[in-house]
């Protein structure tokens, strides 16, 4: 081997110093006794190499770059040979920051994909390849004791979210969850969440329909609307309460809220509205009385109140 670079550390904090040494051995043919070792960072020659001849006849040059300000750079160990500068070895230098502590970790149980979807804020760019892993274990009560470990959840290429599949979950047991960020300069873990998957379930909203008039039923009185809704299939086994909101389609009136509506009634007559006026109606539901998150509001249903 002609030349070999050794660096104090392949990755340093941005702006920190880095020291490298390059040893040229005699087998590097055509070498004059006083071959001068030169250093290049990227394409620029770097002064300040300290060269010495070692006992075994090899030449060693050492250089300290006071501040490595590039997140990636190539350090070359060169020799002047005739009127050319020969590259004998190259080292890839990396500089960046240890990971920040991931924060704002939140999780939702998604009954469509049957998985617990967690997301977090990764923190500022570290300029280094940083791996995030969602770690968790099954527990009891306030997650003080670890019962069964759950396999790590590795997000897809660089995403700040991960889905723990149903087969790793006990939906009605406590589990402790946190995110670990790791790069060459360190590891940081987010605060731990202690949750029960079903208690963070987020449902999909019901489907709203106009209630079809039926001969045997009197038409709705003026200023009233009749609507029905179809609950979201995957949430049928979950007791829920719902809320309805309405606003005139035209004008700037804000939403008026009606609820809670027991979700099993599946239909409702809304009165006290302005007659022969078009209204936009939306509904959302949440697991209740057991804990859960409100669904998003359903798409709008447009109905017009009966005339005076």
């Amino acid at each position: 081997e002609c030349g070999r670079i050794k660096v104090s550390a392949p990755v340093v904090r941005l702006g920190d110093p880095i020291t490298a040494s390059c040893i040229i051995n005699q087998s590097c043919s055509h070498l004059g006794p006083e071959a001068q070792i030169l250093w290049k960072l990227g394409a620029e020659l770097q002064p300040g190499g300290r060269q010495q001849r070692l006992a075994d006849g090899t030449q060693e040059s050492t250089i300290t770059l006071p501040h490595l300000n590039h997140s990636w750079a190539l350090l070359s160990c060169c020799l002047r040979w005739g009127n050319s500068l020969q590259i004998l070895d190259q080292a890839e230098l990396q500089a960046g920051y240890p990971p920040a502590t991931p924060h704002n970790l939140s999780c939702l149980m998604n009954l469509t994909t049957n998985s617990l979807i967690c997301q977090w804020e990764p923190g500022p760019d570290t300029h280094l390849s940083t791996n995030f892993t969602l770690k968790s274990f099954k527990s009891r009560g306030s997650c003080q004791t670890k019962e069964d470990s759950i396999s790590n959840c590795v997000p897809e290429n660089g995403q700040s979210r991960c889905s723990i599949p149903r087969k790793h979950l006990q939906l009605y047991q406590h589990m402790s969850i946190w995110v670990q960020a790791e790069n060459a300069l360190g590891t940081r873990a987010s605060p731990q969440l202690c949750l029960v998957p079903m208690d963070v379930v987020k449902l999909e909203p019901p489907k709203l329909w106009a209630l079809d008039p039926r001969p045997e039923v009197a038409p709705p009185p003026p200023g009233c609307l009749r609507l029905r809704w179809e609950p979201w299939k995957p949430g049928l086994h979950i007791e829920q309460k719902c809320e309805l909101r309405h606003q005139p389609r035209l004008g700037a009136a804000s939403w008026a809220l009606v609820g809670p509506l027991p979700f099993k009634t599946l239909q409702h007559e809304l009165c006290g509205l302005v007659p022969s006026t078009a209204y936009a109606l939306q509904m959302r539901c949440t697991r209740w009385p057991l804990p859960g998150f409100w669904s998003d509001w359903s798409p709008s249903l447009e109905l017009t109140t009966t005339q005076q």
Partner: protein, 173 residues
């Protein structure tokens, strides 16, 4: 020299010219990536390392138009391609970005060598045993594989330049 065209089929020569152009394009792609990604753009900067690593070069002495010996030329062309096949194989693990280009280059060089060998067999001038690529240096670090890649690609381009000239000469009607 020997009337070259008579004993080599035109379609064989046209295929060879096409293959040389393809390998030249593959080689240029490898050189371009090595320069862009690893800032290794000039083989002249790596001569000393090349000597130390002992990267062999293939000769085409029997192919120069003054001293053209058709059978020897084909044989040197084939041996040279085997040498480059071996050198390219030794570069395996060069880097994830370069691996696809290196694989393509290797496949095309192997195809070209096979094409030449089968033509020599059809002409009855192929030696009984197919030669091997001889001693190949070992590249012990990522940098040596990349530097080796620059030198091998550069040598291969010179080799192909010569090959192209003689094939063109042979293909002239």
């Amino acid at each position: 020299p020997l009337a070259p065209a008579s004993s080599l089929p035109q379609s064989f020569l046209l295929k060879c010219l096409e293959q040389v152009r393809k390998i030249q394009a593959d080689g240029a792609a490898l050189q371009e990536r090595l320069c862009a990604t690893h800032k290794l753009c000039h083989p002249e900067e790596l001569m000393l390392l090349g000597h130390a690593l002992g990267i062999p070069q293939a000769l085409l002495s029997s192919c120069s138009s003054q001293t053209l010996q058709l059978t020897d030329c084909l044989s040197q062309l084939h041996s040279g391609l085997l040498l480059y096949q071996g050198l390219l194989q030794a570069l395996a693990g060069i880097s994830p970005e370069l691996a696809p280009i290196l694989d393509m280059l290797q496949l095309d060089v192997t195809d070209f060598a096979t094409n030449i060998w089968q033509q020599m067999e059809d002409m009855g001038v192929a030696p009984a045993v197919q030669p091997t690529h001889g001693t190949i240096p070992t590249f012990t670090s990522a940098f040596q594989r990349r530097a080796g890649g620059v030198l091998v690609a550069s040598n291969l381009q010179s080799f192909l330049e010569l090959a192209y000239r003689v094939l063109r000469y042979l293909a002239e009607p």
